[in-house]
Amino acid sequence: MLEPVNISLESLNLVTLMPMLIAIGGGLLILCIDLFKDNIHKSFYVALTVLILLIDLMVTMGLNFGVEEKGFFQVLLIDGIAVLSQAIILVASMLFIPLALTSKRFHEYSYPEFFALFMFMIAGFQFMVSSDNLILIFIGLETASLSLYTLIAMHNRSNSFEAAVKYFTMGALAAGFFTMGSAILYGVSGSLELNQIATAISDRLNEPGIMILLLGGAGLLLTAFAFKLSLFPFHTWAPDVYEGASAPLAGYMSVVPKVAAFVVSMRIFEMFINLQIEWVQSMIIFLSVITMTLANLMALVQKDVKRMLAYSSISHAGFVMVAIALATDKSNTGVFLYYTLFMFTNLGAFTMLWVSRHKDRVHHERFDHPYEKFSGMIKIMPMGAVIMALFMLSLAGVPPFSIFWGKIYLMSATVDAGYLWLAVVMGLNSAIAAYYYLKLIVYMFLKEPTDAVKEEIVYYNVSKPLMVVLGFAVFVTVFSIFMVNPLIDYISTMLQASSFGI
């Protein structure tokens, strides 16, 4: 006979669960509405989703946060980075969802389930970033990933199915690595809470043989996150998946899942690094250098803009991964600064691809967005070409556009930590990357339009909501110089109220 357990409601601190509950409730609400009324236009669901996400964002921002702010049987942890990353995730989602309102009809958006799944995915990410319990992190990760696989497949083309299955298989493998890694850490420490694991490891750090266990634990976890962050050599899924997914979803995948995975990586790996386990640091630096260099080299030879952007996202992830290895306050600030700025630019770039997507007119038998499609765009669509060029320059790190500020902040953090050579490697990588971004600019500005391009309007899908999103992305990209200071202020305040790494 088990003893009855008494838990007071206050100790559950249910308010910490509110953001996820709102997202899940929103998803359920959408499903219920669908039960009662058929054939509602997608604009209704888009509007509803944005509104629910807005409430979610406001609630999240209103949460009490701090190192001790735990809830729901102590598994939820609402510290600074939990709130911060949830805010980033929600803002990115709110920018993403209006992209459904294209002037042309696309399969997936006619299903309300798409929006419901989207909400569940957000809830998953929110769980993932606001916990230091490995099991809850895992559940969040899997909830989000499974929803994401389905969202990709809903694009309803053969290469979307391929992408979804590929992503699913790789994701399953990563999940396996994650559980095994967690199991080893549990074996070492007898706990699944990261802060207790840290205490236990630091107590046992001098025992003989412990390093082999830690190597197993950290190595397996690193592998799992290398899959999620598309780090070399676990990046191979990314270009195919990006290509198969719809353009906005690909843009979304290059930001939100990565932010979530970076937050968890911060919590896990900076713990190891702060425990003075140096090979974790070397391993991450090694991975990030190889990732950014190889992805850049691969991007050089791509023939399709979307695949190029996929490799560029891999390379950007490698660039930011350096910050995890440094594990300083400044580098952590840099991660969030970089991704906040990257979010707008990259989502903008993918939106431009989305705008030009045409279901029937094919420019290339294999690719949706070959470079040739954009040749001479300045003559046909001057505004579109200028906007796309702005995003490319920003991605290349040309000042004063947004990503430059993230870049110098991270490079500065690297210099501060004493890794001058690494900063030079990062700089040279940006120079390599400039080539493939320039290639698109060269096509758009310096080449004559091909006959196939001349006949058609490149902005095929454009609609007012898309233009609003684009306008917003352009605004942030161009005027980011005035936003960097408040952003750094806010991010560093939030980071100070966070518990990780110890």
Binding site: V398, P399, G427, L428, L446, I481, V484, N485
Partner: protein
Amino acid sequence: MDTILSILIFFPAIAGFVGFGITKGSAKIYGIAVATIELILALLLWMQFDTSNAGMQFTEKVALIADFGISYNVGVDGISLFIVVMAALITLLGIILLRPDTKNMKNMIISLLFLEMTMVGVFLTLDAIIFYLFWELSLVPMLYIVGAWGGKDRVYAAVKFFLYTFAGSLVMLVGLLAMAYLYHQANGVWSFSILDWYTLPLTEDQQFWLFLAFFAGFAIKVPMFPFHTWLPWAHGQAPTIGSVILAAVLLKMGTYGFVRFSLPILPDASVTFIPLIMALSLIMVIYTAMIAFAQKDMKQVIAYSSVSHMGIIMLGVFAMNAEGLGGSVFLMLSHGIVSGALFMLVGVIYERTGTKLMSEFGGLAAVMPIYATVFGLMLMASVGLPLTIGFVGEFLVLLGFYKISAIGTILAGSTIIIGSVYMLALFKKSFFGPVRHEKNLALKDLDKRELTALIPLVLIVVWLGVYPKPILGPIDNSAKHILTQMEAKAINPATKETIILSKKEAE
């Protein structure tokens, strides 16, 4: 007029934005109007400039990213003042020289106006990150100008130009970040202000590495041997206006960077690196002069002669005395005027005949007397004939550099000989002798548009060749100021020795 520098920087850019609304037909006259206003503003700045004050004037400072020490910070001294005036002048004359039937004239004018903002910005800003910002941003319009209006291989040339400079400047960026970090270590606050950096003491080791990092950015831009290979491509493919601005202003960013950053911030390393810089510069001077002699294309001759002259400027910068430094700043101006004019002249003949090969011409002096006269004068100025603008700077640089190395000076002096060889050979092949092609007999001499663009340059060449004092005075003041700063900041007695020596003699 405390905000005149900001107006100077942003007026062309705002005018560029407004330019989107101008009709195609009126684009050129709009460009001329804006560039004229900009030139007038620059001249106004010169008039208000206090020539006795060697430090920064008209400074403005607005914090942009306070936590990270980045602020919008501008100021002007005797060195930057004249480069800015020259940039405004060359832009105006370049726009005047544009053929009225240039395709996409509106895009050209807008790009030029943005380019003007970045050029003026580079020379006026006192914050390293904002400097870097303008520095990188200048690549974008230039990329477009070369790539859209250039010759056959324009895309390759444009991308090569962009990537070379971009790669070098990213290494420089690491240097700038390291510099800010060292400043933070010493003072506890972040600052990217160059003026703050002037006061920061650095060990010789730190200076050594920082110098190399800065060198990567500046040397590619100058372009120093062996990083010069992008320049002949860019010049070969660029349209006339692109070559003019590239040679006259963009290359000066590199040497200006050495003057503004490397020397005062890293005095000891600058002295340590004199032998290397001397070797590279001498190779530049002699080797590229010889290559220039071997060229068949007029524009390539001038492009290589540009590189050769940039070598002289580099020698002057690292002469570590007022004559050398002042002379090289003056040479930056005169080279800007002269090479700008020469590229314009080549553009003129190219527009008429569609070729730049010297073998196609001959006897042009008889057909186009005014053109030949102007060309001859600019050519003499380029060689460094006394009483032209080219002589003053070259003489001062050689005089200054003599104190560092007599042999080096003699070798560098040979540029005057080799220079006259290839320039006169060019002149002989193209302008004298029989007219090689019948159709060349019908060539028209300079028309009103071309004369408007060239006459001011001719006047300046003669005026400053005869009486350089109004410009040389303020430059000399600021050059001495920089040397004083260097001497105060140097930690190695040997460095102080090198600098003091020349200062005493200057007094």
